[in-house]
């Protein structure tokens, strides 16, 4: 076979479709940017956002037009889709990057050792100073209590669904666990409020908050336990049964140890999720500028709640404190996430491949 001849333009049987050179998108981009600057200067548009938008629209339309002329409609549509997908990505990166950047930039202003080790007791809202020690303590206690309540119930429910669950009860549990993941956190807060504080007459406390957090945490633990137990190969269970080990011992000593890494990860991700919850704590823990180290009695502070209160104070000193607390919260949650994922990687269940 000789080398295929260079295809004629418009030849339906050509092997080589005409293609735009590789630099074409870049060229169109430069042209679009130049045109946008010209339009912006000409029309006197002040906002750089408008310039950017005009450039983006010109680029997408221009590339489509050029490609449709030179390469045909199909190729042009492909290029249009490519630019839109890239555009969606860039559009999403801007706010998310800005969120992280702003939090870090504003947060480091007042974040220091003093901030981490002092409470807001006696600090006037408009004055600088004060710290988050009381809030940090409250958050850790509430989250720990919620974990202690939610993990056993969630874990056992997961075991039930995978190892025992047959029939309508299991189906109902599965469905409602799924639905439960979608309960708005404020509704969980209202529920505990109506039962614990309004119904049984207890006061605001960290414990009340951790009940609500536990309700939010349970379905996440159930789901991750379920996923992990399903990954345990059946051969392991069968081998255990064949040795005469009863079912409950098989679960406790074979199934759970095999999947413990994944389950730990799930629990930690759930903890990370509830650490940032604010709404139920607003209703149940109430907030407190002083240190209250007893989660069972009296109003407590919590980190997310602290951010909200400082924001609501509405002055610069409070905003600085809010940003710093937000930075601490993000770092805390991210560390939990990273740690959880590390555990997942190194203790992944051995699938019987």
């Amino acid at each position: 076979m000789s080398a295929p001849p260079v295809a004629d333009r418009g030849d339906a049987f050509a092997i080589h479709q005409p293609r735009l050179p590789r630099w074409a998108p870049a060229g169109v981009a430069v042209a679009a940017a130049a045109a946008a600057v010209a339009v912006g200067l000409g029309a006197g548009l002040a906002s750089r956002v408008q310039w950017g938008l005009i450039a983006a629209v010109l680029f997408v339309a221009g590339l489509y037009a050029v490609s449709a002329r030179a390469e045909g409609a199909r190729k042009a549509k492909d290029r249009l889709a490519t630019s839109l997908v890239w555009g969606a990505f860039l559009l999403a990166v801007i706010p998310l990057a800005s969120l992280v950047w702003e939090t870090v930039r504003q947060g480091v202003k007042v974040l220091d050792g003093y901030f981490l080790t002092h409470s807001m007791n006696g600090v006037v809202a408009i004055a600088p100073g004060g710290g988050i020690y009381h809030a940090l303590l409250g958050t850790i206690e509430q989250v720990a209590l919620a974990t202690v309540i939610a993990t056993p119930i969630g874990l056992l429910t997961g075991v039930y669904l995978v190892e025992y669950g047959r029939g309508r009860l299991a189906k109902a549990v599965t469905f409602f666990v799924d639905v439960m993941t979608g309960i708005p956190s404020i509704v969980a807060g209202l529920f505990v409020l109506s039962v614990w504080i309004m119904g049984l007459g207890f006061g605001y406390s960290g414990l009340a908050g951790s009940f609500a957090l536990a309700i939010l945490m349970m379905p996440i633990v159930v789901r991750s336990t379920e996923e992990m137990l399903k990954l345990v190969p059946n051969e392991l269970r069968e081998a255990s049964y064949a040795l005469g080990v009863p079912k409950w011992k098989t679960i406790l000593q074979v199934v759970l140890p095999t999947s413990i890494g994944g389950i730990t990860t799930g629990v930690m991700l759930a903890v990370a999720r509830i650490t940032g919850e604010t709404a139920p704590l607003l209703l149940l823990v109430f907030g407190n500028p002083a240190i209250n180290d007893n989660p069972f009695e009296g109003a407590q502070a919590s980190l997310p709640l602290y951010i909200y209160e400082q924001w609501a104070n509405g002055n610069n000193a409070s905003y600085d404190r809010a940003w710093a607390a937000a930075l601490v919260l993000i770092v805390f949650v991210m560390l939990l996430n990273l740690l959880a994922r590390l555990i997942a990687r190194f203790k992944a269940p051995k699938t019987g491949r």
Partner: protein
């Protein structure tokens, strides 16, 4: 929690007399029963909690509604502390729906775009870290989004809103008179940014699972990359994207702090979404709680019940769609 402990430890009936002389056998039976009972009891506990949530909210709501002088569904203002109390959810329902719809309109196309970007467009080396970062962003607490929205996003939206007013002000919907843009539109934009990672994660998971063989077949027939996606990936992932969107919608409907920080609430029901005013269920509960007395709380619980039912319906629908495809579930997103 007292009810929980009752149910979680259902004292198993004592094992009946061993049929065989072997004693160990009955011991293992006992262990099995205790363990099975415990785990079954936990499952039942979850059901009981769900039932209790509905029951207690309904009970409290009934107390409040019996004394309400306004029409719960059509009254605009929320004066539960007044004598006689007058409150209704018209403004809240409108605000909740509008802000969530804005969030969905913005977030779903972009999220699908990002998901496609990660699975099919991004350079290989970039794709994995990107997916990872988006995973992490889904974990950023809502109060941080709220703080950022109130202190950074709101001031930066004045310019774009004035522009929207210039271009589309004649539609009334997008008219804007200046002033702090603490409006339903702002809440919707912030909600969109918040739910973007969740919708992206679930959609990405679905797109990643679309059969490689289909895609290769399409490529072999000469399809362009977009045609491959349109003919194989999107049809496969459609139900997944729908359920991902509904999970996002559920979160947007119930989001409290992010809305409470960027919205200036008022008892106005207006089509001008760029103008301050309006409210949502969750935001109203958070804002009105501190001033609410015993009765005011009952009234707030009544609005919470409505929110609960709405999110229940949305999530239930999402789950039913997912159930048709068992392999992926948004619950771990």
């Amino acid at each position: 929690m007292s009810t929980d402990t009752d149910i979680r430890t259902p004292a198993p009936p004592p094992p009946e007399a061993p049929r065989e002389p072997g004693r160990r056998r009955s011991a293992t039976r006992l262990g099995d029963r205790v363990f099975a009972g415990l785990s079954k009891g936990s499952g039942i506990t979850l059901l009981v909690i769900m039932g209790a949530i509905a029951a207690f909210l309904a009970y409290r709501a009934a107390l409040a509604l019996s004394k309400n002088e306004g029409n719960f569904l059509t009254t605009f203002e929320w004066n539960a502390n007044a004598q006689p109390p007058v409150f209704g959810i018209a403004v809240l329902a409108f605000g909740t729906v509008v802000s969530s719809v804005i969030a969905m309109v913005i977030a779903v196309p972009i999220a699908v775009g990002i998901a496609l970007f990660i699975t099919h467009y991004a350079p290989r080396r970039l794709a994995a870290p990107l997916a990872y970062v988006i995973d992490l962003l889904a974990a950023v607490p809502s109060i941080v989004y709220g703080l950022w929205g109130a202190l950074f996003l709101v001031p930066h939206l004045v310019g774009p809103y004035e522009w929207l007013d210039d271009l589309l002000g004649w539609t009334v919907v997008f008219s804007y008179d200046g002033g702090a843009p603490r409006s339903l539109m702002t809440a919707g934009i912030l909600l969109a940014i918040m739910i973007l990672p969740i919708i992206t994660n679930v959609s990405r998971e679905v797109f990643r699972q679309s059969p490689q063989t289909h895609q290769e077949a399409a490529l072999a027939l000469g399809a362009t990359r977009w045609e491959v996606i349109r003919t194989t990936v999107l049809p496969f992932g459609r139900s997944g994207v729908i359920s991902a969107s509904m999970l996002g919608l559920g979160r947007a409907l119930g989001e409290t702090m992010a809305v409470a920080t960027v919205l200036s609430p008022s008892a106005i029901l207006s089509a001008k979404v760029l103008e301050p005013g309006g409210g949502t269920f969750a935001q109203n509960i958070a804002s009105a709680f501190k001033e609410a007395g015993e009765f005011g709380r009952d009234a707030l619980i009544a609005s919470g019940l409505v929110l609960f039912v709405i999110t229940l319906l949305v999530n239930g629908a999402a789950r039913l769609i997912i159930a048709r495809r068992k392999e992926y579930s948004g619950a771990n997103a």
